[in-house]
């Protein structure tokens, strides 16, 4: 017998003489020394003629293999493998078994501390296929302990967004109020200044808003858009389509239009990340009916990434191109953004 380490698990080899094992009693066993693996003690046990008299093992027709947990401290989850070596010395694929279990400590009343295979291999098969010319056969057992992950190894996920979101929701400590479309939004100057250079200039600059104690009116943006933008500035989260169903105003507006407006607001207030998030939303919903309008949006609000995607869309598929060109959006594109048609011609390599 020899012990060795193999692929970071502990292995033990049994080399036995077949003729000798024919004479031993049922329940006779050979075992490894105590194996230290994963901080626990183990023994690999081999019963050449089975561990006990059973219905299937009346005359000792089977060889049994077991892994026994020898530690007394606590449970251990382990992988136990056993296989027979061919006459040529390679691992047999037909008699190769594997199990993963939790092993109870030694001497504990409740759990199972010893597991394996009672009928690992029939002795008749052993004799005919695995015994070498000089009468020996080799069985190998391997044990590897599965380590549980330590919760301290993983840092907790970032939750600053939800905390700031709560701050926004509760309006605690707010020091500025915006009036948008008649709706009032309480906010914190420092947060807005940190997130947007435009708001920084407005709220901490030298003009009226820097010292205003009353509400600051904000024009050119809808209340829904401003709310979504404000939430992003606090939580870094882009709103989902479902959020709009809770909105009291603009109940008839479509999600596409909402992202359209939000992208425009992001461009206006220099929120690059929000702009890209909106662009992705728009791109995910693009189709031949909407691609021209989306392209106009990308060009107008300085989103080259989205523009490139839309131009690529026109270049794919004859049918899509034909259908897209017939939309009202495309007509407006040709009228107001004629240079884009030149880019399109380069892209598709033909006449639109």
């Amino acid at each position: 017998m020899s012990d060795s380490t193999f692929n970071s698990c502990f292995t033990h080899q049994f080399k036995l003489n077949y003729e000798d094992t024919e004479k031993v009693a049922i329940g006779y066993s050979v075992s490894s020394e105590d194996i230290l693996a994963g901080g626990h003690l183990w023994r690999i046990v081999c019963y050449p003629r089975g561990d006990r008299h059973e219905k299937e093992n009346k005359k000792g027709e089977c060889l049994s293999m077991f892994l026994r947990h020898e530690s007394e401290s606590k449970d251990a989850k382990a992988i136990f493998e056993a296989f027979v070596m061919d006459k040529e010395g390679t691992v047999s694929s037909s008699h190769h078994s594997r199990l993963v279990r939790v092993f109870a400590p030694k001497g504990s009343g409740g759990g199972i501390g010893s597991l394996g295979w009672r009928s690992f291999v029939k002795r008749s098969v052993l004799e005919s296929r695995y015994v070498t010319n000089d009468g020996w056969f080799v069985i190998v057992g391997a044990v590897k302990v599965v380590q549980e992950e330590d919760p301290l190894d993983l840092p907790p996920s970032n939750n600053i967004g939800s905390h700031l979101g709560l701050l926004l929701y509760s309006a605690a400590g707010s020091d500025v109020t915006f009036v948008v479309d008649g709706e009032r939004f309480a906010a914190h100057r420092a947060v807005l200044a940190a997130r947007s250079p435009v708001f920084k200039a407005q709220l901490f600059g030298s003009m009226a808003e820097a010292t205003m104690t009353t509400s600051i009116p904000l024009h050119g943006t809808s209340a829904a858009t401003f709310r979504a933008m404000l939430r992003f500035m606090y939580t870094d989260a882009c709103p989902e389509e479902a959020d709009d169903s809770d909105s009291d105003s603009d109940s008839d507006s479509s999600p596409g239009e909402m992202f359209h407006d939000l992208l425009a607001a992001a461009d206006r207030f220099d929120l690059d990340r929000l702009k890209l998030l909106c662009a992705r939303k728009l791109w995910n919903n693009v189709c031949e009916d909407t691609v021209a309008d989306t392209l106009i949006c990308a060009e107008t609000y300085n989103c080259p990434q989205l523009k490139r995607k839309c131009l690529g869309f026109f270049g794919e598929g004859k049918d899509f191109k034909t259908k897209a060109v017939l939309t009202d959006g495309f007509a407006r594109l040709a009228l107001e953004f004629p240079w884009i048609l030149d880019e399109l011609r380069e892209k598709v390599g033909g006449s639109a």
């Binding site: 435009v198 030298s206 009226a208 919903n285």
Partner: protein, 736 residues
């Protein structure tokens, strides 16, 4: 996944913007008017009443609706107009208020520019990059540069005002440094090129003229030391000015100007200034002035080499006078001490004032080497100096003091080119010290030997060490002699013999003289003893190097113990049997050589207080017609009377020539040995290469004379160590 784009999730229609505002040209014009008015309000310091939201949105809408160019051009023209107005108010500022007004307006412009950039942030971010225009802030700076700084009315006035203030500060006035700092910072903010072209260059030009004039005035009315103080102060002032209100990059440039105008251009005149120049500083040990000169001259090209050259010339001349002055040649100890003092003096100057500069140390070393070897007697004098120290000069000195003095002497020794001459003299002087037991300590003697060995190698000192060995051996031999022969010797005179190995000690002619019978007896016993224990040895007596102690009783019964040389002993013993003897009688009876005998008799008969003999006629010199008598009237307060020989402290001219001749003779075999060594390894070599190689090998001891080398080559050819090449007569071959 399909390649036809993202899958369709929902079919929806994008409606027109609800908040979209179409800008027609009239609307754009009205929007621009709002912004233009705001820009004016900002410049009028009324920004606190403006709505950032409105202004930012207006600019945003203009850019969004393709009126970016109108917005940008409007901004440029509006700022230009404002700056022209500002230019007028700056130009109108009276006298001293000019810089104040300029600075105030600049600060206002910066504040306005900040706000304008803020409300036009969207244009800066979107329109400016795509149209390749200049960003707003940079545009504001460029316009200020072009319409304010480079305005004809302001530009020259600005430069002149700045330079005038600097001039006043140089004259001792207190100026507004904070204001100066603000103005120069403004120029730097407008771009390094603005600062450099519009201020720094004229500043450097004016400074060069200022310091050129000032240095001319200083050089006429100041001595060298004071001039350097002023130059140093000016340098420090300029560096301080930079740290207070100029750009840091100007420091190297302005200090370069001061260095050139005040130092480089007057360097030679300064060092040669009468009564206060470099030589005067060196003579008078003016460390501070020298240190200042060193630190200032180091800043200019050739500065240190100028000091070094003058110092070298001075050292060579001074040293030359020292080693040539006939007066200083009279006393070798004084001669060497003066050299050591000169070395100490300049070592201190180099250490304290020149920062231990290696190039100056090298200059000092080469100067000493130059003049020390001008006097061919330097080796002898250095040896005599050591002799003086080891005889009595170092008596009572601590071990540390001994080391210091010997180390200093070794420094002079290193400068000698003829170290073998020194060795010859040192051997003679050491021999005398050892044989007369006149040495302060064995340790000091051995310390000197160790230093010489360290400097020149074992071969140089092996014979000197042999001399010490002989002294030790002799002491042991005499102890053994008296231990074994005490009964035979009885009450005869006591003998003390020094056995000197031939070759280790300086060669001396040893003419025999007739020893008194009493001495002769004990000498024969020693000879028998010594040759009995040292088979094959040969003993020769060197009576000219011995001493004796004699007890004498004079006329009135006074007794004295006389310490005399061996020769003097031979003479005095004759008077035990005779009252008067002629010179010829003495010469015949003692067989002492005439020159030695005369000196010997002169010490015995002509030195007041030590004249144990009386001579007729009475005169200072000894002649062969003189007659000598025992001096019954001799008296002395001392019981022990030391009658020294009249010994010259330095060699007479004939002796010097003789020593020199022996040195030359000793050099021949050394040169030949070197030639043979070289040819043995080279096999074939030309004449010039042999000369160069021999010189290289032997220069640690002496500089071989090429003529002598040539003669030695001829001699080796005659003796068939070498042969001439048949074709090239300048080529030699080694014959195995």
């Amino acid at each position: 996944m399909s390649s036809g784009g993202p899958p369709r999730k929902r079919n929806f229609k994008i409606e027109a913007f609800k908040n979209r505002v179409d800008l027609d040209p009239k609307y754009a014009e009205r929007t621009w008017k709002v912004l233009e008015h705001a820009i004016h309000e900002i410049y009028n310091r009324n920004a606190s009443g403006l709505s950032f939201e409105e202004l930012y949105r207006s600019a945003y809408n203009m850019v969004l609706h393709k009126y970016g160019e109108k917005l940008y051009d409007g901004l440029q023209s509006t700022m230009t107009w404002r700056l022209k107005e500002i230019s007028k108010s700056i130009e109108a500022a009276q006298g001293g208020l000019f810089l104040e007004e300029l600075n105030a307006k600049w600060m206002d412009h910066n504040k306005a520019l900040q706000m304008i950039r803020d409300i036009l942030m969207y244009m800066d971010r979107t329109y400016v990059p795509t149209s390749h225009r200049t960003p707003v802030h940079e545009l504001g700076l460029n316009l200020w540069r072009d319409h304010i700084i480079h305005s004809p009315m302001i530009h020259s006035r600005l430069v002149n005002t700045l330079l005038d203030l600097i001039k006043r500060e140089r004259m001792g006035e207190v100026i507004n440094r904070g204001l100066m700092r603000s103005i120069t910072k403004m120029l730097m903010d407008l771009g390094p090129a603005v600062y450099q072209d519009d201020f720094e260059k004229p500043f450097l030009d004016v400074s060069a003229r200022f310091y050129s004039v000032e240095s001319q005035e200083f050089i006429v009315c100041c001595d060298c030391g004071n001039y350097l103080k002023k130059a140093e102060r000016r340098l420090n002032e300029e560096m301080e000015r930079v740290s207070h209100y100029l750009d840091a990059g100007s420091e190297a440039k302005i200090t370069s100007v001061v260095e050139k105008e005040m130092i480089a251009n007057h360097m030679h005149r300064l060092v040669h200034m009468e009564n206060s120049g470099l030589v005067n500083m060196l003579v008078d040990d003016q460390y501070k002035d020298l240190g200042r000169m060193y630190s200032l001259f180091r800043r200019v090209p050739d500065g240190l080499s100028t000091i070094r050259d003058v110092m070298t010339s001075y050292l060579r001349e001074t040293g030359k006078q020292l080693v040539i002055d006939p007066e200083s040649l009279k006393d070798p100890v004084e001669f060497v001490q003066r050299l050591l003092n000169e070395k100490d003096k300049h070592d201190k100057i180099i250490s304290v004032a020149f920062g231990n500069d290696k190039t100056f140390q090298n200059a000092l070393n080469s100067s000493f080497e130059y003049f020390l070897n001008l006097n061919s007697r330097s080796p002898e004098f250095i040896s005599l100096y050591v002799d003086d120290k080891l005889r009595k000069g170092l008596k009572g000195a601590t071990e540390e003091d001994v080391e210091v003095i010997l180390d200093k002497v070794m420094m002079l020794f290193r400068y000698l080119q003829e170290k073998d001459v020194f060795e010859k003299y040192y051997k003679q002087h050491l021999a005398k010290r050892l044989l007369s037991s006149k040495t302060v300590s064995d340790d000091a003697e051995r310390s000197m030997i160790v230093k010489l060995k360290t400097e020149c190698g074992y071969q140089f000192t092996s014979k000197l060490e042999g001399m010490f060995t002989d002294m030790k051996t002799s002491q042991d031999t005499m102890q053994d002699f008296y231990a074994k022969k005490s009964e035979e010797l009885g009450d005869g005179p006591t003998l003390d013999v020094h056995i000197l190995t031939t070759g280790s000690w300086p060669t001396q002619p040893s003419p025999p003289c007739n020893l008194p019978t009493e001495i002769l007896t004990v000498c024969e016993k020693f000879r028998a003893y010594y040759l009995g224990t040292h088979n094959g040895r040969r003993l020769t007596w060197q009576t000219n190097m011995g001493t004796a102690d004699i007890k004498a009783t004079f006329g009135k019964g006074q007794k004295h113990e006389l310490n005399v040389s061996t020769y003097q002993m031979c003479v005095l013993m004759l008077f035990n049997n005779a009252d008067g003897l002629t010179y010829k009688d003495i010469e015949r009876d003692t067989e002492i050589p005439a020159s030695d005998l005369k000196r010997c008799l002169q010490s015995l008969a002509c030195v007041k207080g030590k004249n144990v003999l009386r001579k007729e006629p009475m005169s200072k010199d000894i002649s062969e017609d003189d007659t000598f008598y025992f001096n019954d009237k001799f008296t002395s307060k001392l019981v022990k009377v030391k009658i020294g020989t009249v010994v010259a402290q330095k060699e007479s001219e004939p002796e010097k020539q003789e020593t020199r001749q022996r040195v030359e003779e000793d050099r021949k075999p050394q040169i030949e040995a070197a030639i043979v060594r070289i040819m043995k390894s080279r096999r074939v070599l030309d004449h010039n290469s042999i000369v160069a190689e021999v010189t290289k090998q032997l220069q640690a001891r002496f500089l071989p004379n090429p003529v002598v080398i040539k003669k030695r080559i001829e001699s080796l050819i005659e003796r068939e160590f070498l042969e001439r090449d048949k074709v090239d007569r300048k080529l030699y071959r080694y014959l195995a």
